[in-house]
Amino acid sequence: MSVEHHNGNGKGHAHADHGHHELPFWRKYVFSVDHKVIGIQYAVTALVFLLFGFSLMMLMRWQLAYPGQPLPVLGKLLGETAMPGGVMAPEFYNQLGAMHGTIMVFLGVVPLAVGGFGNFVVPLQIGAPDMAFPRLNMVSYWAFLPGCILMLSSFLMPGGSAQSGWTSYPPLSDIAPTGQTVWCLAMVLIITSSLLGSINFIVTIVQLRAKGLSFWRLPFFVHAQLVTAFLLLLAFPPLEAATVMQIMDRVAGTSFFLPSGLVVSGEQLKIAGGGSPLLWQHLFWFLAHPEVYVLILPGMGIVAEVIANNTRKPLWGYRLLVYSVIFIGFMSFVVWAHHMFMTGMGTTMSTFFQTTTMIISVPSVVILTCFIMSLYGGNIRFTAPMLFATAFLPMFAIGGLTGLPLGLTASDIYLHDTFYVIGHFHYVVAPGTLFALFAGIYYWFPKATGRQLNDKLGKIHFWLSFVAINFVFMPMFFQGMAGLSRRLYDPTVYAHGRGVQALNVVISWGAWGLAIAQLPFIINFFMSLRAGARVAENPWHSTTLEWAAPSPPGHGNFLTEPVVYREPYEYSVPGKTKDYSPQFQAEG
């Protein structure tokens, strides 16, 4: 491979040294080592999976709104095993549920937030020509994609795909059909991909920063990605180990997660026994709680960039934000067992974990306060990315606040495993992270393509999504307060479920409406790709380094080696003619 960069000091310019010999198509766009191409590969793959994962949920919403009624048209197409007579089978419902969760988290949001935005933006924002290990970067995408395809192929297995929830609690997952083995194998590939990526991010951010770019001059987005990379690096290995153990339980007859004396459908299981179902829960949540912050931190990073740019003033409390995000990173490793309060743990353990949970809410409050205070005194431009970033604040606030009753043991007795939980984490991840990611797409699309997304269509996309998404998730809090359990194929079996069934109809129509609300985005995306307004390198009049590179940046990113002169968000500096003083210009 000839496209190596001089990584030693990070100041190498492949561009000048290597001339412009054209790479063949498959090296340039398929097995590319260019961080921008890999970032776009991740982002496009992730967007497709987000749509797919959402579609699974839209199918489930039919059964929830109209239990036992045949689904028109589509019901027939999905076949007799999945939907006999057009009515969803309970096992198919469970498959859709497990795969929705898995796809949205591991194949959608994280790959878009870290693989997509991280890869594309981080090297540009730190003034590097590429990632520290470009070939490792390529390997990481090419471990991810087969993992995704394998995950989807599990639908074709006898007995269908994984159906024990995205959490895959044994013993249920240990005795589930073959699809669960495929789920485990796919997870091993996806986790490996994440681990390779996280090492690459850490080394890149530490080693390849441009001259003058000290840690206190890094854009907040880079800080968020750095903490995220550490979380992935440290939290994923236990889950990878646990996943391999689950594979062993399923195919090699071990009993890591199986206690003695199991009797399934009247038959005693022929296993050695002696294992512990709770061991899986500890290993799983030891990843999956930091994973929650992997889902949210890059989103917060994007929101910070967009807010600073559109309020035309420095971020309020930049250092406080950085300290908070680092503190969250550390704390996220000691809160995992708050997912397990109902397992019968001792009071010492539960008191410890509810205390750490309350502590970790404090930096989140600080971050939110910093963002809102950043609005104060601004000159706010309501561009499409800014609308999404603005809406992130109240939506994340709802998600965060409703975490309180779940993090406190006494109220969790009632709310644990109800729809309240679903409402809570979806507010964090859907109108929270996903809105932030949309803000990022509208914000960096011009950098990636050299063309602007249509602002009017963007605003239509925002308003429709904003209204619809609240119809989807707000009613869930009321269902949860009524005591409705999650993951129920037919909630009307219960009297307390019948009491809130009307809300299921509202939620389902909200979800279908939310799908329609994505049409302006999809149209905008393809239309602007071909015919969007062309832009120069810095269309948003921004201050950070990625806007010093051409739009789109060529291989090697920058035409001249960038040098950093100041803090990242020097907007509206008194006495200057422009209302922005870029990091990369000596005379702001």
Binding site: P277, Q354, M358, I372, P405, I413, A495
Partner: protein, 260 residues
């Protein structure tokens, strides 16, 4: 069953310990609403007041965050109060003050895909021995027929009969996968985990017919793993126990004085 008691908020609480949980829930939601509305008003004010318009410029110098420090301190103080003033004491009191086993009604629960099997001890107050290898269609709990202690035990499936005003201790476990024993009106939830025996207790204050739900995904029949909770007056409950006790077999008196 009275459907009208179930609406869009907490169903009525018929337990002794539940009032404290409901109180915490109410305090929490008022606190959340206060914070959200407070933040929201300021947020909307900022968006309107500082919108871009001709002649308006942004402030470069950050405002002093005195108010925010107070607000953050307020949030921290309230959270400390919620944690150590409300949640932890309620949880500790509930978990540590397990009622006296002698006075309480003791029930054993073994969950399975997709049913709730309850075992009530007879007059001796002791459960008969059981073994997973003895489990069959007729004997869902695997009770040892050779054990004299178990002769007078009553087994019910999907029906939990309880008296009012008497603590009930349920020893929960599962024979296959993880389920979760959840009675919303009694503010009780406990995962039933195979290989693990956990006790959970509660005391009902009102008679009635309520629902027992499974709260943990346990397979394709998870949604229909529903049980009935039938709370009777102590007299009616005693009557039910008497009616359902197995007919006394040879020498019923011999079983009673037996010691472990």
């Amino acid at each position: 069953m009275d459907e009208k008691i179930y609406g869009w908020w907490l169903p009525p609480d018929v337990s002794v310990h539940g009032a404290k949980i409901d109180q915490l829930m109410s305090v929490l939601h008022w606190f959340m609403l206060l914070l959200f509305v407070g933040w929201g008003v300021f947020f909307v004010y900022c968006l309107v007041r500082f919108r871009a318009r001709p002649g308006h410029v942004a402030m470069y110098t950050p405002v002093k965050g005195i108010a925010t420090k107070y607000i953050e301190a307020f949030v921290v103080v309230v959270e400390i109060f919620l944690l150590f003033g409300l949640s932890t004491p309620v949880w500790l009191a509930y978990k540590n003050n397990v009622p006296d086993a002698k006075k309480a009604l003791h029930v054993r629960l073994v969950a399975e895909q997709f049913a709730w099997n309850f075992q009530y001890p007879g007059k001796d107050g002791k459960f008969g021995k059981s073994d997973p290898s003895l489990i069959s269609g007729d004997n869902p709990l695997g009770i040892d027929p050779e054990d004299p202690v178990g002769k007078d035990d009553v087994v019910t499936v999907n029906n939990l009969h309880l008296p009012t005003n008497r603590p009930v201790i349920v020893d929960v476990s599962s024979k296959d996968v993880i389920h979760s024993f959840n009675i919303p009106v009694l503010r009780v939830k406990q995962d039933t985990i195979p290989g693990q025996l956990v006790s959970v207790w509660f005391e009902a204050t009102q008679t009635g017919h309520f629902e027992l739900a499974c709260a943990q995904l346990c397979g394709l029949g998870h949604y229909r793993m529903r049980g009935d909770v039938l709370i009777d007056t102590p007299e009616d409950f005693a009557k039910w126990q008497a009616e359902n006790a197995p007919p006394p077999q040879e020498e019923p008196a011999a079983a009673a004085p037996e010691k472990k």
